[in-house]
C-alpha cells in the first residue's frame, strides 16, 4: 500500500467536509477518486498534501504517517492551477522542481527531456503568458512530474484540456504507471475513469459510498441484461426464452433483430445462447454492464434521496 487513508474527518466552520473516510491505494495503480462537486475530494487531496490538517484520522504514506518530507514524493496538479505568467517557461519549471528538492543540474536535464517529449523545447525561453492555453497545460503537467514523484495526484486534470492534449496526457499517465508510479485521479468525468482507472472510491457529501476495482463494481451493479443481434424469426426467439429470460426491448430491420434481454433468475449468457441458438442465427451477444457514469449517477442520487 502506498497510501492509506484512515478515518479522516474535516470540518470547515461548521460544515462537514469529510466524515470518517478510509481507503487504501495500492502501489502502481491508477486510482479514481470520484464524487460530485463539493463532495470533499479536493479537501481530501489537500489533506494528503499536508496543505490542510484533518480534524481526526490519519494518512499513511508507504506505511508511515505522512510528513512534509514525504510530500516531496508526491506530484500534485491542483484543480485551481496556474503558472507565473511573467516568468519564462524554463526558469519556472526549474523553480518548481527546486522547490520540490531536485538539484539544479538534474532538474535542467529532466526539463529538457520533458520539453522535448511534449514538443515545447523551442518555447523554453518564452514567457508563460505568450503560450497558448494548451501549451500552458502541458507545462503544468510537466511541473507535476518533474521531481519524479512516487505518487501523482491529478485533480480534474482534463478540465479545460482539448481532446488532443487529453489524449497526450492520458498516454503519459499510462507510461508513468508502467514505470511503477501510482496515480490518484480525481474527477467527475466518468468516461476517462472507465478508460484508465484500476480502482475507485466514490465520495458523496463528505462520506465514502463506494469502493473497489472498476471491474468488480461494474459486475456488482450488473442487472443481468444481455444484448443480442440475430437473423431469423422474432416469435421463435421469444418462445425459446422460456421463463428464464424476458424480452426488454427490440429493434428490427427486415429479419435482422436487435434485442435486450433480462435474466429473471440469474441465468448466464451461455444459458441464453443454449436456448436460442437453435431457433435463430446469432450474430452478436454481450452482457450489458452498467457504465461508471450510470453507477455514479444512481449511487449519488440514491444517497441524496435517502438523506432527504
Amino acid at each position: 500500500m502506498i497510501l492509506q487513508i484512515n478515518q479522516v474527518s474535516k470540518i470547515f466552520s461548521g460544515h462537514q467536509a469529510l466524515t470518517d473516510v478510509s481507503f487504501d491505494i495500492e502501489k502502481g495503480k491508477i486510482f479514481g477518486l470520484l464524487g460530485p462537486n463539493g463532495a470533499g475530494k479536493t479537501t481530501l487531496i489537500r489533506i494528503i498534501n499536508k496543505i490542510l490538517e484533518p480534524e481526526s484520522g490519519s494518512v499513511y504514506f508507504n506505511g508511515k504517517a505522512i510528513t512534509n518530507h514525504a510530500v516531496r514524493s508526491i506530484g500534485y496538479l491542483p484543480e485551481e492551477r496556474g503558472l507565473y505568467k511573467k516568468m519564462k517557461v524554463g526558469e519556472q519549471l526549474l523553480y518548481l522542481a527546486q522547490l520540490k528538492g531536485v538539484e539544479k543540474s538534474e532538474a535542467l536535464v529532466r526539463i529538457k527531456n520533458w520539453l522535448t517529449k511534449l514538443d515545447l523545447l523551442d518555447w523554453s525561453k518564452s514567457k508563460v503568458e505568450d503560450l497558448s492555453k494548451g501549451m500552458q497545460q502541458k507545462i503544468q503537467f510537466i511541473s507535476t512530474v518533474l521531481h519524479d514523484p512516487e505518487l501523482i495526484i491529478l485533480d480534474e486534470p482534463f478540465s479545460g484540456f482539448d481532446p488532443i492534449n487529453t489524449n497526450l496526457i492520458k498516454n503519459e499517465i499510462k507510461a508513468l504507471q508502467e514505470k511503477g508510479t501510482t496515480i490518484i485521479f480525481s474527477t467527475h468525468n466518468m468516461e476517462s475513469v472507465e478508460e484508465i482507472c484500476d480502482d475507485i472510491v466514490l465520495i458523496n457529501r463528505s462520506k465514502k459510498i463506494l469502493e473497489g476495482s472498476v471491474e468488480e463494481i461494474k459486475n456488482s451493479f450488473k442487472e443481468n441484461l444481455f444484448h443480442l443481434k440475430f437473423k431469423g424469426d422474432l416469435i421463435g426467439f421469444t418462445n425459446a426464452l422460456w421463463t428464464d429470460f424476458e424480452l426488454m426491448a427490440k429493434k428490427n430491420n427486415g429479419n435482422l433483430h436487435e434485442v435486450k434481454v433480462k435474466s429473471t433468475n440469474g441465468k448466464s449468457l451461455n444459458v441464453l445462447l443454449e436456448h436460442t441458438i437453435k431457433e435463430v442465427e446469432i450474430l452478436h451477444a454481450q452482457e450489458i454492464l452498467p457504465s461508471m457514469n450510470e453507477i455514479f449517477i444512481n449511487q449519488v442520487s440514491k444517497e441524496n434521496l435517502q438523506d432527504e
Binding site: 503558472l83 507565473y84 523553480y95 527546486q98
Partner: protein, 445 residues
C-alpha cells in the same frame, strides 16, 4: 530554509530585472538631483527686475524711495484708479499703492502682474518701512539716533547644555531633517508593502499558489516574498544613494561652478542683508536659508542612516506582513480597499504625529507613539534627529522602541500568517472582518 531562500531569490530576481524597477531606479536620482538643483537654482534666481509705479496718496512723501539695480521706482502723482487703468498696458511690473493713513495703518498694497519673488517683496517692504518709520519719527518728534538706540532686535538663544558641559544650539532644523527621514519611511513602507500585496494577489489570481504550497509551507512563501521584496528595496536605496551622489556632485559642479559663480556671491550677500532685516519677525526661516550647509554637518548621519536602516527594515517587515494578509484575503486588487484601513490608519496617524514631533520631540505624544510599534518607525525617526543620550532622547527609550518593534513584527507576522494561510485557498467570496477574526482565533494546526 533552503526553500525559503529559493523563494527569496525568485522574488528578488523577477523584480530587479523588471523594466519598471530599472526605470524607477534610474529615474529616481535624476528626479531627486533635478529637484535639489532646481530648488538651489530657484533660490539663486533672484535677479528679477522690478519696475514699479508708485501711487502715493501723501504725494510727495514717498518720492524719496530709492531705485536699485533690482527695483526701479517710478513716482507720479496718479490716482490709484488711473494707475490701475494704465497698469496692464504699461511696462510696469507692479503698482505700489501707499494709502493716506499709512502711518497708522502700517499697510500698503502691491499690485502685480506676475508674482514677485519673496526676496523682491521683502526688499520693497523694507524700503517702504524705513520711510514709514521716518514719518512716524517726525510725527512723534523723535530723533532717529534716539530711535536706533531703543529699537530692540531681541532674540532668545536656546542652547542645549550637556553633562560634559558642551553647549549646542537647539535646532528645529534637526527635527525637520528627522521628519524627512520619517517621511521616507512612511513612503517606502507603502511602496514596498503594496508590492508584497500585489505579489500575493498575483499568485492567487494566477492560481499557482496551491502548487507552491504543496511544496513549501505558506509561512515560508510569505516570508520569502517579504524578505525578497525587502532586498529589492534595499538594492534600490543603495543604487539611489550612489546615483544621487554622483548626479548631485555632477550637477553642482556644472551649474554652480560655471554659470553662477559670480551671482552666488551677490545673492548670498543680498540674502544676508535681508536676513538682518527679517530677524525680528521671521528669524528661523531666514537662518535656515543661510545655515543650510551648516545643518548637514550638525546631523549625526551615521546614527540617522543606521537607525533609518533599522526602522525602515522592521517597519516594512511589520507592515508587509499585514499587506500580505490583505492580499491573501481578496481575489483581485479592486477588492483591496475595504481591508486597507487597519494598515493606512496607523501609518497616517504616525505621519500626523511626526508633524507635531518636529515641534516638540520630547512631548508625551511623540514619546508614546515612538514606542508603539505600528507608529514608531516614523515617529522615532523624527525624534532621533536631535540625537541619542545626553540632551537628546534617552537611550532606554530608543532601546525600548526598537525591542518593541521587533516583538511587534514577530506578533504581526504570526497573526498575518494565520489569515494568509486560510485566505490563500479561498476563492470567490470575500471574507468579512468577522470571518478574518475567526481565522485568527481558531488555532488551526
Amino acid at each position: 530554509m533552503n526553500k525559503t531562500w529559493l523563494i527569496i531569490k525568485r522574488e528578488y530576481l523577477t523584480r530587479v530585472t523588471k523594466k519598471t524597477f530599472i526605470i524607477l531606479t534610474l529615474l529616481g536620482p535624476i528626479l531627486m538631483a533635478g529637484l535639489i538643483t532646481a530648488i538651489m537654482w530657484i533660490g539663486m534666481e533672484d535677479s528679477e527686475h522690478q519696475r514699479i509705479l508708485v501711487v502715493d496718496d501723501q504725494y510727495p512723501t514717498f518720492e524719496i524711495l530709492k531705485s536699485t539695480s533690482d527695483v526701479e521706482f517710478d513716482y507720479d502723482n496718479y490716482t490709484i484708479e488711473y494707475a490701475k487703468e494704465i497698469f496692464y498696458k504699461s511696462d510696469y511690473t507692479a503698482v505700489l499703492y501707499i494709502p493716506k493713513n499709512i502711518a497708522y495703518a502700517n499697510n500698503a498694497m502691491l499690485y502685480f502682474k506676475k508674482q514677485p519673488s519673496l526676496n523682491s517683496i521683502k526688499n520693497i517692504e523694507n524700503k517702504v518701512e524705513k520711510i514709514v518709520e521716518d514719518l512716524k519719527l517726525e510725527l512723534f518728534k523723535i530723533d532717529r539716533a534716539d530711535f536706533e538706540k531703543v529699537n530692540t532686535n531681541f532674540h532668545l538663544n536656546a542652547v542645549k547644555f550637556s553633562s560634559e558641559g558642551t553647549e549646542e544650539k537647539m535646532d528645529t532644523e534637526k527635527n525637520a531633517v528627522g521628519f524627512v527621514f520619517g517621511l521616507m519611511i512612511y513612503f517606502f513602507i507603502f511602496l514596498y508593502g503594496v508590492q508584497v500585496m500585489r505579489g500575493v494577489i498575483e499568485e492567487k489570481t494566477s492560481r499557482i499558489v496551491e502548487v507552491i504550497i504543496s511544496s513549501v509551507k505558506p509561512f515560508q512563501l510569505m516570508m520569502g516574498k517579504i524578505i525578497g521584496v525587502a532586498m529589492v528595496g534595499l538594492t534600490q536605496f543603495l543604487l539611489w544613494i550612489i546615483l544621487t551622489t554622483i548626479l548631485y556632485t555632477f550637477a553642482v559642479t556644472l551649474i554652480i561652478g560655471n554659470n553662477y559663480g559670480a551671482d552666488v556671491v551677490s545673492s548670498t550677500q543680498m540674502s544676508a542683508e535681508i536676513m538682518q532685516n527679517m530677524q525680528p519677525d521671521n528669524g528661523i526661516s531666514a537662518k535656515q536659508l543661510i545655515e543650510n550647509g551648516n545643518i548637514i554637518s550638525r546631523i549625526n548621519f551615521p546614527l540617522m542612516l543606521s537607525m533609518f536602516g533599522f526602522y525602515f527594515l522592521f517597519g516594512y517587515l511589520l507592515y508587509s506582513a499585514m499587506f500580505a494578509a490583505v492580499g491573501s484575503a481578496v481575489d483581485s486588487e479592486t477588492d483591496v480597499q475595504q481591508f486597507m484601513l487597519p494598515i493606512t490608519l496607523p501609518l497616517i496617524a504616525a505621519y500626523m504625529i511626526s508633524i507635531f514631533a518636529v515641534q516638540n520631540p520630547n512631548g508625551p505624544a511623540a514619546f508614546w507613539f515612538s514606542i508603539f510599534p505600528l507608529t514608531s518607525p516614523i515617529v522615532m525617526m523624527v525624534r532621533l534627529a536631535i540625537g541619542v543620550g545626553d540632551g537628546g532622547i534617552p537611550l532606554w527609550e530608543v532601546a525600548t522602541s526598537m525591542a518593541l518593534l521587533i516583538i511587534g513584527f514577530v506578533i504581526t507576522v504570526w497573526l498575518a500568517s494565520k489569515i494568509y494561510r486560510i485566505g490563500l485557498l479561498m476563492y470567490g467570496k470575500r471574507p468579512s472582518y468577522k470571518e478574518m477574526l475567526r481565522w485568527l482565533i481558531k488555532a488551526e494546526k
